[in-house]
Subunit: 324 residues, 2 copies
Amino acid sequence: MASIKEVAKRAGVGAGTVSRALNGSGYVADETKERILAAARELDYRSSEQPKNFIRNLTGIIGIVVPDIENPFFAKLLKNIEIELYKNGYKALICNTIEISNREQDFIDMLKQHVMDGIITGAQSLTNDAYMNLNKPVVAIDRDLGPTIPLIHSDHAKGGRLAAELLLKASCKNVLQFGGSFRVQTPSNDRHLEFIRVMEEGGATVKTVEMEWNMMDYDYYRRLIAQYMDIYPNVDGVFTSDIGAMYCLNLAMRKGIRVPEELHIIGYDGVDMIRMFTPELTTIAQDVPMLARRCVRTMMDLLDGKEVVMEQVVDVSLQSGDTA
Amino acid sequence: MASIKEVAKRAGVGAGTVSRALNGSGYVADETKERILAAARELDYRSSEQPKNFIRNLTGIIGIVVPDIENPFFAKLLKNIEIELYKNGYKALICNTIEISNREQDFIDMLKQHVMDGIITGAQSLTNDAYMNLNKPVVAIDRDLGPTIPLIHSDHAKGGRLAAELLLKASCKNVLQFGGSFRVQTPSNDRHLEFIRVMEEGGATVKTVEMEWNMMDYDYYRRLIAQYMDIYPNVDGVFTSDIGAMYCLNLAMRKGIRVPEELHIIGYDGVDMIRMFTPELTTIAQDVPMLARRCVRTMMDLLDGKEVVMEQVVDVSLQSGDTA
DNA sequence: TTGTATGCGTTATCAG
DNA sequence: CTGATAACGCATACAA
């Protein structure tokens, strides 16, 4: 509420002197300084960020676009990015794209209107045009937005390979995998391709179910897993994202199918939710804190006008459990 | 990048005319308007939000404080608040308080420095002093911050009663409930008190386990539930938040305890995650979209200087499943 | 050592 | 119908 002028008036000095006293920039007599500090304290004065940001033409805010905050992977990513931004003195503005069409475009417009300084996007849109020619700091996670926008993603190919090797070692011959929509151009599709390659090389048969675009609610997973476990009752291995894998495990328990003896299950992502249950799910874990750190580091470099690496790959690891 | 002056120069007019043409405020000759529109299009001009906000002394941003985005209840709340704010033309700045001490104070300071226009807080701090004397729009969820700050919460007492009635109807005699830290002053403690009252009135015995403050990760729930199900092996009913209830269900399946025949389980919250499994969890659902709507409505009213209701209670409902 | 003028981009006001 | 100018709050450069 109180402005610098009111503080100046109360201390009986000019506004510039107050600024210097409070910021420690330039000369201020000790006696004057004390009067100013007292006045500022009495009025509970805090300098407004607005004119400062306005002059620098910056906001200290980074927008984060995710399809759905409720999805545990994106919740974890969002949380880690927020914490990482905070460490760098930045704030996080969020944007859910799911359920509201055109939401991402609105967000991009806000970037143009100086509501924020940059965007980190983890959403999967079908069109990428909106980011073209936009000459602003943008970092993409798991989403190829062309050669001008830095891309950060997990080593999904390795993830697919690790899963396949594990299932082959367990002598699986007939496995089922669920994957996101292949219409979307995302590096995460590599995990399915690599999984198929390694499994078939090992003499196994792979059935791949393509999921619908941007469907990630629990109900959808449940229906889909139940449906395909019914269609393919004699698979001996399943590879799917953690949520699907958890439901698969639940289904097996109910049907009296022994895991891993009769059915091997491997998840993907490594979200905390899987810790909720025993037996513990075997999964390929993405290093979300590292993904977040890389995203934010890259964003900071873009803001500083530094050169950035256009494609950064983050390692994945096998998180051993009791289901494979 | 382009400013209004550059557009004006290109169109051969003054800055004010450009403003009027683009905003449709005031008179501009059709011919002039067309020239201006063309210039704006060529330069991809978007007016900056910064000076507008600066003059109005507003930002269009609301801060949302939650303990942990990864917790499914808060993820759902956050998502719904964000969507609701968007409908009202506002943006959501997020703040995780867990894991970083003093984080909430930083956020409050940002409010004072005009980084945002108000705060919606769902975090449970042990001290509320920071919000006192802060003469700014603040709305609290499930958290009593004193008589000057509007409080929105579910009808937790009803929730506790519904759960108790259901367990009594199922002839439970010896039940276990898990509750948040009672040191925190939150209306959500009412559900435990009411649960005890009704159960004991019905002749049952209730054991109440108090959880640690701000502990809400899956691992903690898992350890705690396992521990107390071990200590009290012959309870015939459990009432706890959804996450705990899900693990309880999982534990029962593994131990061969039949649900609900031998053990009745009722969750609390109604997060989507519970839809993942069958048998479906019986739970007391909070109406998160309504909580979000009320929070945002109240925030809008505060910003408009309207009178607001200081305590708003949102109905809860029994979401029938197969575990009670 | 201090006060004052300047500029940041936009819109509203007012004189032309 | 249009152009010039003030105003918003702060930091900074410069004059006193």
